[in-house]
């Protein structure tokens, strides 16, 4: 199952929930089958959780998990390179480009990499076949292990504008095929979906624009982390619009710093029939642990069970949502 952790407003605790969720799930798996598996390969076979930090502008999950990175790859956009000898300066490339990323000036062709979306339309439309594409590096993607947890992140280079291509390539690189329980539902033999694939947690960036959408695409469930304040509520609504109304995904809410503000988030969730799956109280100890890069469940181990219950309720909701989605197929069991 693929779960995206989103929020709308920044700083509400997306990374906190993502990190503590995978730590709790991994600890649970360890307790169940503590037979001394050491190698990462064994962990993968056991289906240990995978955490993907999709906030490529400001990736933070790694600061808490401190993974050992094993693979690293440069990524970016495929941008056009023009073979001037073959170019007839006809201007077709500039005509088809929707982003003004290529211009023909006299006998010269100018390419503006920061405007290019890498769609390949200029290459396809060049009548002289004078264009080929080269990688314009805008960031790095990495993967590795933090104990039994597989970890991956993308990092956009400073000064680059576009996060989406990095997120897209990161997801393609690390998310195993068949991880989604919804997409695989027709072929799935397990209606519960729990054995259908790896647990994949995507830590999304803040906001509601294209990088957030890319982080939610293909997920089975979106978990919104919010704080019970007017800012938190305002942005939660926008994020729910994206996840539920635009993408048609089931959503649930975690209220962080519960008790700090007002009742707006509770009222909204009740009105819109959005389940509140967990409440994390306003607790200075949690904030202080966070400030030092210490995961909450390491500081306050009592929360492990709560995070496992959180995951179990997501699984349950996802199965029920699927049940509704496919008509009279029955719900849950």
């Amino acid at each position: 199952m693929i779960v995206t952790i989103a929020s709308g407003k920044g700083g509400t605790g997306k990374t906190t929930v993502s990190v503590n969720l995978v730590l709790s799930l991994a600890a649970g798996a360890q307790e169940l089958s503590d037979r001394g598996f050491e190698s990462s390969g064994e962990s993968a076979n056991r289906g240990g959780p995978l955490l993907v930090d999709c906030d490529v502008e400001e990736p933070n999950a790694g600061l808490f998990l401190r993974p050992a990175i094993q693979e690293r790859m440069e990524v970016g956009q495929m941008i056009p390179e023009v073979d001037i000898a073959a170019c007839t300066h006809c201007g077709r490339c500039a005509e088809v480009c929707q982003y003004n990323a290529i211009a023909v000036v006299g006998e010269k062709v100018l390419v503006f990499p920061e405007l290019c979306h890498g769609c390949g339309s200029c290459t396809l439309n060049c009548p002289a076949e004078a264009i080929h594409e080269v990688l314009h590096v805008t960031g790095t993607i990495e993967r590795g292990w933090a104990g039994p947890i597989e970890f991956a992140q993308g990092t956009m280079n400073v000064g680059e504008p576009m996060a989406v291509p990095i997120i897209r390539q990161l997801k393609r690189w690390v998310i195993p095929p068949g991880a989604s329980t919804s997409l695989g539902r027709t072929a799935s033999t397990s209606p519960g979906g729990t054995s259908g694939g790896r647990t994949v947690i995507l830590d999304a960036p803040p906001g509601t624009a294209c990088p957030v959408v890319e982080s939610m695409r293909g997920a089975d469930f979106v978990l919104m982390v919010t704080e019970p304040t007017p800012f938190g509520l305002h942005d939660l609504r926008l994020a729910v619009e994206v996840a539920r109304d635009e993408l048609g995904l089931p959503v649930g809410v975690v209220i962080n710093r519960d008790g700090v503000g007002d009742h707006g988030v509770d009222d909204y969730c009740a009105a819109r029939d959005i389940p509140i799956l967990m409440r994390i109280p306003l607790d200075r100890r949690i904030a202080e642990a966070y400030s030092e890069g210490v995961a909450m469940v390491d500081e306050l181990p009592g929360y492990r069970e709560q995070f496992r219950e959180l995951y179990a309720s997501i699984e349950q909701l996802q199965v029920e949502g699927e049940g509704r989605g496919v008509g009279d197929r029955g719900q849950g069991e």
């Binding site: 920044g10 502008e57 400001e58 396809l124 956009m156 400030s291 030092e292």
Partner: protein, 292 residues
């Protein structure tokens, strides 16, 4: 007229709280224009109680549309689409509006000319009045692209009105991150104030956003929010900034009064005269010196 943008890198560190407070304090001394450049999660309006005077459509970005009557299901569009946005439908192909980047590659490759591009209404922008000055703000529709363009538009409108009315300062509430909306919000600014929290993530993200403003030649100041939450990290930030030649203008203490003011829909400086307000007044003093 000077222009100041409030940034943070990491989200939720207090940009809007600081912007609203500075709007309140600054407007007591000079005439200001405000812009909320966090167009996909605009919150400044929640604490400034604006009265909307104008509302405009933001039309931007195009979307491919397949005419099912003309589609012969050859699949060429799906082959050329690099954004996985063309999906096989029941009988003909269809475009996933969320995935479509508007590149039109499919339009040019379709042998039947069955695909055309349609402009999209991507959001709205507003001119409002607040008791601290005019506010330009916007709402980018859920999941839309081109937030950078809408940021630029909102900022330009604020600047033009400021120049017309002889305002002394444009105050811009920025978006989180370091990508296109942040670059758009920072361009042309005289100064960026970075609001940072004393946490490992805060430190990490500050380095990246300072790199971004440096890259685009915008001078920076730093304010540490919730500074007493982790004294050691606050000192680490101060040392880092000193090493980089960036001035730390003030330390805002951790105080739940900030949330109480937000719940009341008011700038914190307007709500209380405690240590938080005192810190913010000090920060404004330093900004003034720097902009003078």
């Amino acid at each position: 007229m000077k222009q100041l943008v409030i940034l943070s890198g990491k989200g939720g560190t207090g940009k809007t709280t600081v912007t609203a407070a500075l709007a309140h304090i600054a407007s007591q001394e000079l005439s200001i224009v405000l812009a909320d450049a966090d167009v996909d999660a605009a919150n400044l309006e929640l604490v400034l109680d604006p009265t909307k005077l104008e509302e405009h459509d933001f039309v931007s970005g195009k979307l491919a549309v397949i005419d099912p009557g003309m589609c012969i299901s050859c699949g060429m569009c799906e082959d050329v689409c690099r954004f996985d946005a063309v999906l096989p439908g029941d009988e003909t192909y269809r475009v996933d509006a969320v995935g479509c980047e508007g590149c039109a590659a499919c339009v040019y490759q379709c042998p039947e000319d069955a695909i055309h591009m349609e402009e999209q209404l991507a959001g709205r922008w507003f001119r409002s009045d607040t008791r601290f000055g005019p506010l330009f703000h916007a709402h980018l529709f859920a999941g839309q692209e081109n937030s950078g363009k809408l940021v630029t538009l909102v900022k330009q409108q604020a600047r033009l009105l400021g120049l017309d009315t002889g305002a002394a300062l444009t105050l811009v509430d920025g978006p989180p991150g370091i990508g296109c909306p942040v670059i758009s919000a920072s361009s042309g600014m005289d100064l960026a104030l970075h609001v940072v929290e004393p946490t490992v993530s805060g430190v990490h993200d500050l380095e990246r956003v300072l790199g971004t403003t440096d890259h685009f030649g915008v001078p920076s100041l730093v304010a540490i929010n919730k500074a007493d939450l982790n004294q050691a990290r606050s000192e680490q930030i101060a040392a880092y900034c000193a090493g980089r030649g960036v001035q730390v203008t003030g330390l805002i203490p951790y105080d739940t009064v900030v949330t109480k003011a937000m719940v009341q829909g008011r700038p914190v400086t307007d709500y209380t005269d405690g240590p938080v307000t005192e810190a913010l007044r000090g920060i404004w003093g330093q900004i003034k010196c720097r902009l003078a």
